[in-house]
Amino acid sequence: MSRKPSSGLPAISSEDMCPVCKTIRYLNKDMEFLINPECYHSMCSNCVNRLFNDGPNQCPYAGCHRTLRRKGFRSAFFGDLSVEREVDIRRRVAAVFNQAEDDFETLRDYNNYLQMVEDLTFDLVSGSDAARRAAEATLQQWEAEHRADIERNRKAGREADEQSRRRLAAEREAARQRRVEALREAEEEKRERARSREAELDSLAKGEVVSAGGPAGGAQQRVQLKRRGQAAVNAAAASAAGTGAAAAAADVGRLSIRGLKEKKAPAPEGPYDPFGGMDFVPSRYKLHDGLSHPAIDKYKADPGHITGGYNFDDYTARALYEAFAGLAVFVEDEKEVGIGLSAGEVATISAGMIAVGDKMELD
């Protein structure tokens, strides 16, 4: 990939002189250089403090009229400031365009998306002024529009990172265990061999025949098998982890990213219904305090009922419900028409005799 070098900013890490105050390292051993992402001009920390502690000021570099603030200064990570600048830009872009491969239907879609992002980035990094401004605007606009999605993706990403970190830790732990195990087994082996040799010598002394290799060989073999088995298990585990997730890609046209999987956007929720749509409201009667029955009333004064928290209103509600539930359910009509017991079921029940051959006589 060829690209004309950007603004030709000088590398400073080896530079021993601050271009602003001309102090040389000899005079200030721990001189530290800071840059401001506004213009990537570097100067020593003394200058930064001197010039900007009392408020915003103009960048001291000749020809650079940018207003800088103390806050913006930080030390550069890369020696080559053009790289530093590019990295910053990429970071900003990635924070906004943070879709994952999973979010796309096909790999092609995803690749197209990546292409789009890279084009945008290029414009930002090394495009002409006009291109840069346009790209900047695009970026802002995109961010404003997709704030929620971005947030979500970021969270998911963090989670994923945590998972993988944990996974790695687990694997490292497992590896450590294996090493310990292996060491131990090696020890065992040695001891076994020593022991069996002793045994051999003993038996020779007694005059018995001993098969060569014998228990020691067996133990060794077992250890080998175990190790190999373990290795195989690990390999299986590792490959299982690597199985591909659903690949995805985005067909990138302008700002619209095509091929994104249908994210079920939460349907515009209506007023919150605490009962989830399942509330039962009587239609034929109303519950009110005047409803009573002598047989029930006599229990209302019973301390056992009162203290235990027995609820008489529940009983009333139930009695009324049962009095009216099914009042206009016309069984004959509805069953003939087929609501309820299906015609098939009726037929089956009625059919009765079903020869099932030799199946299940006493079932």
Partner: protein
């Protein structure tokens, strides 16, 4: 001479029902029943759990009460937050088989206890409590007491929905005058009226259990965990307040009323804010109402659903976004995760190494330009 065997029509119906499902591996084994994974014959992607109730050696009197109750109530209660009974059939050896919906993500207890790997916040608690409350409300609206509400009996479906299960102790509301047993509900979740032996009670008993679950969700440990009934009572007295004739008229005359001699006055809402404040003032208000000592003063399920807590921020988390148990499911997720996620850069707070490493990776376009 060979004779064709025939089935009674009812046996045939049973056979048809049984044939609808194919039984697979055993998921769990208990003294009461074995549970098998299964699937619908017609649609193998529809998974079910087949609960085969064992013949009980201890119970010599035919079908066990739990089986009868589960059968009776699960069959009549249809609600998204109550486990669905899809079918019932008998196996050859005359055992009852309940075909239930398959709830693969364990139960709420697992999530609560896995403090290290499962994190959840106020929005999640609100979502779960919403589901539980609706389930209990629906039971009560249909005049059924569950009588064994605890996190262990709140199972989680694949889509995150929480479902109330295990109706082995359930029963219909009693008519006035009819006595019920006080020996129900697992001790830690049992309300004071039952601990004191009340024979006439109502939905308020379930509400107390709901309150205990609520507390447990917040502090991630059982709130009142007594080893005996007496200890349970004393914990209630200590953390909620001693039941007295002042705050609960008539309580001293309940058959098994006994409290520690030191009388603790009922704590006010402020006292709970310290420990349970994570759910906000409204949440604490709701919690306090569920643990009112006098069952008559305790909030009802309907009132719970009408409480303002559900409408304040944070909103209840959408069920798809609720935390899930780590372990089995997490493995597949991790596998998928390792594949994606190379675009996200951490905040500057992270160490520079990871920052640089990720950027470097992104810069590497194999195909690209």
């Amino acid at each position: 001479m060979a004779v064709t065997m025939t089935l009674d029509p009812i046996e045939q119906l049973n056979e048809d029902e049984k044939r609808k499902y194919i039984k697979g591996k055993k998921l769990g084994e208990g003294t009461y029943a074995n549970v098998y994974l299964g699937h619908s014959r017609q649609d193998p992607s529809q998974l079910v759990a087949i609960k085969k109730i064992k013949v009980q050696q201890q119970y010599q009197d035919g079908m066990a009460p739990d089986a009868v109750r589960e059968l009776k109530y699960l069959r009549e209660l249809h609600h998204p937050n109550i486990i669905s009974l899809l079918s019932v059939f008998s196996s050859k050896d005359q055992n009852l088989n309940l075909v239930l919906e398959y709830l693969p993500l364990g139960d709420l207890e697992m999530l609560i206890r896995d403090v290290d790997r499962v994190r959840y916040g106020a929005g999640d608690i609100k979502a779960w409590m919403g589901m539980l409350t609706r389930a209990v409300w629906f039971c009560h609206d249909n005049f059924v007491l569950h009588r064994d509400i605890k996190p262990n009996n709140l199972l989680i479906a694949a889509d995150g929905e929480v479902k109330l299960a295990d109706f082995g102790l359930a029963r219909s509301f009693a008519d006035p005058g009819r006595r019920m047993t006080a020996n129900v509900i697992t001790r830690w979740y049992r309300p004071p009226e039952l601990l004191f032996g009340a024979r006439h009670y109502g939905g308020a008993a379930d509400i107390w259990s709901v309150g205990m679950v609520f507390a447990e969700l917040i502090i991630r440990a059982p709130f009142l965990a007594g080893n005996t009934e007496v200890e349970q009572i004393s914990l209630i007295c200590k953390h909620i307040g001693t039941p007295t004739e002042d705050n609960w008229p008539g309580v001293t005359r309940l058959r098994e009323y006994t409290v520690p001699s030191e009388v603790v006055p009922v704590w006010g809402k402020e006292a709970y804010m310290g420990r349970f404040g994570a759910v906000g003032a409204d949440g604490v208000d709701l919690l306090v109402r569920t643990v009112a000592l006098d069952p008559k003063k305790r909030i009802t399920a309907r009132e719970m659903l009408e409480h303002r807590w559900w409408r304040t921020d944070p909103k209840p988390t959408r069920k798809e976004d609720l935390p899930r148990k780590s372990g089995g499911g997490a493995e597949e997720k991790m596998g998928a995760d390792l594949k994606r996620r190379n675009g996200i850069l951490e905040d500057e707070a992270n160490n520079s190494n990871s920052r640089g490493a990720k950027v470097a990776r992104k810069l590497d376009f194999g195909q690209g330009k």
